[in-house]
Symmetry: D3
Subunit: 248 residues, 6 copies
């Protein structure tokens, strides 16, 4: 099985970092192929960048040279998830979607923790879009910056640990860590936190593998049926060609 790990931002190092986490959990026969978008933000951190990244992700996904069996979105905002599900014939899974699903299977009421206050409503909207607000009603942001994790990892980790344990004491039965910045920090923190900390990457790989194994057919009706015969202007030729193709 060939999984395309597609990073909607333009920083291959982040792709590689998520890929490492993904490979650590993938099944023996699963090949993780990395792809990084060609245009857009270095790191998606705003609504504007996320909107641009959707275009980049679609273009990258629809113009891959090699076929793939499923796509995992290597970004916590589940960028372009529904559009990719509409466009592609193969399963697509988002990191935060996967983490939220996992949280619902090990808790009744979970929290999502991210970095930076402006991300809080964006993740709350994403959870609502997934329909899971009643299961993951709490979204909070650490007051740290990504730089804090780079420059003082042990201090940052301690702040993360205290924050997670406080969330647990306030009733969170699992905690989704949303953001590439947490990679590598969840494991050492987990041992002293009383509830599971959930990283989306391994869950997303497992869910993608599951969907490939289930061999569900692509919907032929509804809002996720593939477009065809669509006219466009000014797009990358391969993307435009894909839009105007005959009914598959």
């Amino acid at each position: 099985m060939r999984l395309l790990l597609l990073n909607p931002n333009t920083t291959p190092a982040i792709t590689a970092q998520v890929a490492a986490s993904a490979r650590a959990c993938a099944l023996p026969g699963t090949e993780i192929v990395e792809a990084t978008c060609e245009f857009g933000a270095a790191v998606i951190g705003t609504r504007t960048e996320n909107a641009i990244a959707a275009h980049a992700a679609l273009q990258a996904a629809l113009t891959q040279q090699q076929p793939y069996d499923a796509l995992v979105l290597a970004v916590s905002l589940d960028t372009a998830l529904d559009a990719l599900r509409e466009a592609l014939d193969v399963p697509v899974v988002g990191l935060t979607e996967a983490a939220l699903i996992t949280a619902t299977m090990v808790s009744r009421r979970a929290a999502l923790l991210t970095l930076g206050p402006r991300m809080v409503p964006m993740y709350a909207e994403l959870i609502a879009h997934h329909g899971l607000t009643s299961r993951v009603p709490v979204v909070e942001a650490l007051t740290l910056t990504p730089q804090d994790f780079l420059s003082s990892p042990l201090d940052a980790r301690e702040v993360l640990r205290e924050y997670c344990e406080r969330l647990a004491q306030q009733g969170a039965e699992a905690i989704v860590l949303a953001g590439a910045v947490f990679a590598g920090h969840a494991a050492p923190v987990q041992s002293t936190v009383s509830v599971p900390l959930i990283d989306g990457a391994p869950a997303a790989v497992a869910l993608a593998e599951m969907l490939v194994r289930l061999r569900l057919p692509k919907a032929q009706s509804g809002s996720l049926a593939a477009p065809h015969l669509r006219a466009s202007n000014g797009l990358a030729p391969q993307l435009a060609a894909w839009l105007r193709r005959e009914k598959p």
Copy 2:
């Protein structure tokens, strides 16, 4: 006052059509400036095209030569609405947003009518994103195609009339018509339907004018504060420059 009427698709004729409707309602001192995106679908009708259009709309909005006092999105899917509100210092209003708001002021329970079954969940999600599902709980699609409105306008209009009146008899107290295809057909149908039919274009212009008059400051915190100092790759130079500017 200068309103940018920005069409996220790439068909200037549709821009012009919405602009005509907008100008018919604009205040005397309001200038409506048309803009059509440079890349993307001819007519947005799928999730894929809508995602691509968000990039195009942002690029167009952020790279206009002339300043403008507010932006009206000339598309029924309110494409990139939140991202534009984040990016721009001026008010932004979406067509369907404006129509939904209007519906809430003349009804307790409204319906939205569109064309094509695949649009139904997309509009239902948009209404939910606006938080108005309890006010506009019904979303339905005419079984006609845009071609039907072109080739047999009187027949299509009669189908539209019957559908609207049935929705009214089933409890819709106002009906939002979502889609450029309805332009020009609402007025003749209205006279024989017992509840208001709502077109988003004039409402959006009036709301944009209202927001300009209210002179509310741009938020400096939260998820709609403007990005700055953001690194990117492969974007149009003006867009990239805007992302990496100093804090405004």
Copy 3:
């Protein structure tokens, strides 16, 4: 255009105060006509008074000597809003309704701030009635009294400022100020608060003007269609006559 600014309480000074705010924002051709109810509370501050005021507002609205093109309710509880929409052939807009709508166009998640803890559930119910709880999920009350604003305006203003900024830091992207007591205080506070503070009066005027311009027909079916041929006892003669009129 002639807007009836109807105050459901019985204190003309409050009517005049809201009217001043309304006139400052009205379009050149808009005449603001003040009306104050003939019976009821001096200042509506309880459920009982609000219920009585609904009768007073209906009687005042239906027995005006001069015609008017729209009605703006000069009270933050949107008293009798739906009943007025049912009764009148012209548009009706409430102050808090208008402020909430405005908040949804400049934020994703807003707060409403009022005075006095007993108002908190009343406003929360009003927001729910408007269907906007997911957009304005936070309702809080300053611990000040109206007297504090009169006797120590600068101190009160500082408390207001601190409260608003705290709400912003907790994620409110806009703040609706609900209550006549805030009039005149929002502007000086705004300059040092990082998110927009929203006063309902100018927004309500602009929305009323918009609805007049849109010329939507009055619903002939549903719960907002006008009553007719209704028998009553003991009401003001003009009100009783209006209820028993033939179908308009």
Copy 4:
């Protein structure tokens, strides 16, 4: 125990009819005292009339000559329910509130049936205000008029029976009959309908008796605490005096 059965409309015959139903179920020691409002609609059937009736009900409740232990609102729209709970020191129960509560104890998913399409959104809003939309998600209106029940009671009853059974077949596990018009028809129809039909009057009496027996104290804080020291103009002297009384 003395229960005030207060009819917010002005037709004593309806009060008497509800009182008969209430007395048939009341406990031996319960005296049902009838009161009919002095002003307002003969029969409340619109939002306007319901708003006026709230004032009438408050005036009647607060100016009774004789004390009473609880108040039952003899109207299906639960007119002024919250305001009465705020104003009075004794328990208050609404007919539809009581019927809805009863429905939740004998079903998981109930329906409410009324007469006249304009009542449908009004009852749906009332159910939402009571917080019970998920338990009573269906509200429908018979296409009959009150006259049909008077002129052809057997025919109307058969229509009612068919409608109820259809609702049951569609999943309603109990049916609330909302409207005085149904009085006397539920019992004969019940025997051939497969789910319970619920009349609010006996339930409201029993709930009022329960609340009297529970002797819960009146809230001293929150939005249902009694008003005091409130200034007013133009009200009935007893009502005005009650509003301006010292803290009880």
Copy 5:
């Protein structure tokens, strides 16, 4: 009238305690019959124990020697409530259900207070199951243990009082006390708390008496219709016989 007070746990002393509270409020002609389950937890405090108790409660209810007119569940988790309503031909009422219903009739926004953090999500789910989350949105747990109430009742009571008053100051207009541990403590605390404290036992008895008096028929369709002709293995003979009986 004969009410079966069925305790789903296996501690007769708790049954007796709830029965005392129930009898203090029951109508003169109401006989309260105590029943304690034969197997299960001494005190239900976990999901596992609650699930086991449902079986025990059904077996006890369906194998009583003497008939009864209604069943009151003497446990705060409303254990097996829907299953008992399905199985039995007589009304069934739960303690917390009754307390929640009572709270909705004396407040607009109530809180539920329990003991032990693990109970918080369990009660929140129960409130959601009853459809009352919007009316009782707050669920909190005292940090005391049942032992604290036994060993230092006055100290525990003071903690309870402070907690209740804080909830009231934060907007709770009534407080449901959920847990047998609070029995006997509510009354002394009530006098110094500004909102009603609600104990489920008397309310449940009154609601059961009400349902008996209303004589609603058992549903013959839907998910609460009685099972019949059901095959089973390994159950208590009387329970198995009841399941396989002919249609009643």
Copy 6:
């Protein structure tokens, strides 16, 4: 990896049937161990039977002779799911939970189809309990009986096919088939239905495998932490011993 496939009813043939479906999808190293409960309904079809089955499932799960790495509940009602998650140290997955999760990854709005009208509210409540009502808002029941599928499988299959296609035309983008009766019929029907039909068994196995691979720690706080030191009476000795064990 050893998965315990636990059937909460008492019919080993059904266990074997689900196990066959589970094995067809399991990973090479996964051993599926079948377990059937010792007491309870032959086939769970009512609330009463489902409540009894929870006890049986807990007893079976906690008294297995051999250890297992995860538990899959071989029943569509996800019987005792939360209690098992509390009790066990290993992951637990329910069939319908797994099917619903799968549906959310291949559709935006799905439907659940079952057999028998009394199951409709039970599944709707289950979906609400999982928090997924907005994603799977439609629950309907075929008017067939299990016998129809046995006696006339081709006819029943055609009814199923027509029903599924109608749901798709009404907007269902995926369809969860809930009930063992559908086993073996989904595949032949799928080829002529335009949206994916989802069987819970393979999805549940894959999700259980995923959770085992993720090695998330058991929560030590919250409502899913394992009980300990719990006193009981009358339970199976092993179950009682487990409840009263020291803190693990």
